[in-house]
């Protein structure tokens, strides 16, 4: 078996044995599944509120939720992917590369005829398979719950959309796992290795979108997009910060895939930005020099 496959298998085995990572995996799967139920309960209540408003003669406006897609119930899952999923992926990525440095097993591994790109890509492949499995489990159960709520299995179109959403989630999570791998390789301390990607994540998830749209940090955790400030300063700044706000790009593309009526436009540019992020991160990690992989921790 070649280096790539051995490293991939080794990574999957390590993740299976890492009990701490299991906490995050379980929280992620649980919340994605729960998101459908939360979405359904909320939708039922809001429909009730609308009916009451109409019955009281307070509005003649049409029901904003009439005819929404059953996938509307899954919209909270978008937030859990970028919230729990991203942090889970970062932790898995950090542990993957830091583990070898902590235990000094990297010296042993690299004493063999092993190419560093093959080793790192193998580790990445292992993580990618784990992430794909987690996404597959959680979204399959979510599909089942939405089908039960809907009273019939989701059609081919909706199922295809769930698969597309799952694939996009995989792209985002794998890119964040790569960010974790990178800091695991580059940091001198374990704390820094875990913390730096968290700080980068929070800058991408909260600070960048706020600079360009004046959206409040907490409002960014709501699947319903905040009303963005436009004009003057915001038009100029959002042209720069918008493409870099990866989590907002993910929210936008996912909401369109899930047919959220609150989000309009086309998803292609957002998907391309996320794919570009994944490719760039892969290149940056793969070109890590051999001596960097072997550097010890300063703790």
């Amino acid at each position: 078996m070649n280096t790539f496959l051995v490293s991939a298998r080794h990574e999957m085995l390590n993740t299976r044995r890492a009990r701490t990572a299991h906490i995050l995996l379980i929280v992620f799967i649980g919340m994605v599944i729960a998101s459908s139920v939360i979405g359904w309960v909320t939708n039922q209540t809001v429909t009730g509120v609308y009916n009451k408003v109409v019955a009281d003669g307070l509005t003649t406006a049409p029901n904003p939720f009439a005819g929404v897609s059953p996938l509307y119930y899954a919209r909270n899952a978008v937030i859990y992917v970028l919230l729990i999923g991203s942090l889970m992926a970062i932790v898995l990525g950090v542990q993957a590369t830091l583990r070898d440095r902590k235990a000094s097993t990297v010296d042993l591994v690299l004493s063999r005829p092993v190419a560093t790109p093959a080793r790192l890509l193998g580790q990445l492949a292992g993580l990618a398979v784990v992430l794909a499995a987690v996404i597959a489990i959680s979204f399959s159960v979510s599909w089942l719950i939405i089908s039960i709520i809907n009273g019939a299995p989701l059609g081919w179109d909706d199922t295809g959309r769930v698969i597309a959403f799952g694939s996009l989630s995989w792209v985002l999570l794998t890119a964040f796992a790569l960010l974790g791998m990178l800091t695991g390789l580059r940091s001198k301390q374990e704390t820094t290795a875990l913390l730096v990607p968290f700080v980068i994540w929070s800058a991408v998830a909260f600070v960048l979108p706020q600079i360009g749209t004046a959206a409040r940090p907490v409002a960014l955790l709501n699947p319903v997009p905040a009303v963005a400030s436009t004009g003057g300063y915001f038009d100029v700044v959002s042209a720069f910060t918008g493409p870099l706000s990866l989590t907002e790009q993910f929210k936008r593309a996912s909401s369109m895939i899930l047919q959220d009526p609150n989000v309009t436009g086309e998803a292609t540019s957002s998907i391309l930005i996320l794919l570009a992020f994944l490719v760039v991160m892969t290149v940056v990690v793969v070109v890590t020099p051999r001596n960097r992989m072997r550097s010890g921790l300063n703790e």
Binding site: T20, A21, I23, L24, V27, M31, I38, V41, T42, T45, V46, G48, V49, Y50, K52, V53, D56, L58, T59, A61, P64, N76, I79, L83, I84, L87, V91, Q189, E190, T191, T192, L194, L195, F198, V199, S202, A203, F206, V207, Q210, I211, A214, R216, P217, V218, L221, N222, P223, V224, P225, A226, V227, S229, T230, G231, G232, Y233, F234, N262, E299
Partner: protein, 323 residues
């Protein structure tokens, strides 16, 4: 000098030399200042749009312009409070974890435990040290954001506004001490140091992000951009009357929110700063009458967290730690 104070002084010295700490606090300060600047820019954009609208109205012969948007300076702090509740809590966890982890990594734990220090001196010293650090950090952030309101926001502040900012600063300090103490306790109990950090982060994720997020997304008014009731053009009294029919749902939603200490911090800060419309420009006494329950729970939770940190950081727990 007592052992507790010696250890607290050592923590202060360590953190003063810690580059990671400087980077974290720098990041928090920059994010907070950006939020004030962005909120001020958003208000100016709104004002420009209003002026343009009034010009067009005047040109069309109308003599009754709508009310101009009004700037309430303390409302510029909303983003900053939210950064403290999310990032501040995360950084407080990292500092709490670091204060235990560094002793193991540097090999100073055995030396520390070989000295004749009291049962509670080590954890109490560490909590005290971090409490002092957070006091300084909050004081610096308070001065910076107050200056940002005056300079970037170009908004005047009254004496009562400064009092409101100081109250919010005290609330923020208590909140940050809660998270640092919790992280000390969890790290002390965890056999592996990295497990302590990851478990603390999972707790942060659950109580700072997930639980409030669920409550927020269950709010009927948050289902449409700009608000459901605004979209349906429903006035506030009618909105309250309609929602009274969904008291059970709202009770569950609110119950979820208040199960998170973060919401207690947020509601207290928003009320005293007048960020929540209901309390804007209201006398402090009236705000206190409504909010004292949250103040008590936040204080009690922090006391419990400090007790947990001091109780869990035993000699036995520290000695069995694996890096």
């Amino acid at each position: 000098m007592s052992s507790t104070w010696v250890i607290a002084s050592k923590e202060l010295l360590d953190l003063r030399r810690d580059r990671l700490f400087a980077v974290l606090i720098g990041f928090l300060a920059i994010a907070t200042l950006i939020s004030v600047g962005v909120a001020a820019a958003a208000f100016r954009t709104e004002l420009d749009a209003y002026n343009l609208y009034v010009q067009q109205l005047t040109a069309s012969g109308s003599t009754t312009p709508p009310a101009a948007p009004q700037l309430f300076p303390l409302q510029l702090l909303r983003g900053g409070v939210e950064y403290l509740e999310i990032l501040g809590a995360l950084f407080a966890i990292v500092l709490g974890y670091g204060t235990v982890a560094k002793e193991k990594y540097r090999g100073t734990l055995q030396l520390l435990l070989s000295r004749p220090v009291g049962r509670f001196a080590i954890p109490a010293g560490k909590v005290l040290g971090l409490a002092v650090v957070w006091l300084v950090v909050v004081a610096v952030l308070t001065v910076l954001t107050t200056l940002a309101i005056l300079v970037i926001g170009n908004a005047p502040l009254q004496g009562i506004d400064v009092a409101r900012i100081l109250i919010a600063a005290v609330v923020a300090w208590v909140y940050l001490v809660f998270w640092s103490s919790l992280a000390i306790g969890i790290t002390a109990l965890s056999p592996r140091l990295s497990t302590g950090l990851i478990v603390s982060i999972v707790v942060w994720l659950a109580f700072v992000l997930i639980v409030p997020q669920i409550g927020d997304t269950m709010d009927p008014d948050n289902q449409v951009p700009g608000g459901l009731f605004a979209t349906l053009q429903i006035q506030k009294p009618d909105e309250l009357k309609v929602l009274a029919n969904f008291a059970a749902f709202d009770g569950i939603r609110n119950g979820l929110e208040v199960s998170s200490i973060t919401k207690h911090f947020e509601r207290l800060s928003f009320a005293f700063l007048g960020i929540k419309d209901k309390y804007n420009q209201q006398p402090l006494g009236l705000v206190w009458t409504d909010m004292w329950g949250y103040a008590i729970t936040l204080a009690a939770a922090t006391l419990a967290s400090v007790t947990f940190a001091v109780g869990a950081t035993t000699r036995r727990n520290l000695q069995r730690k694996i890096s």
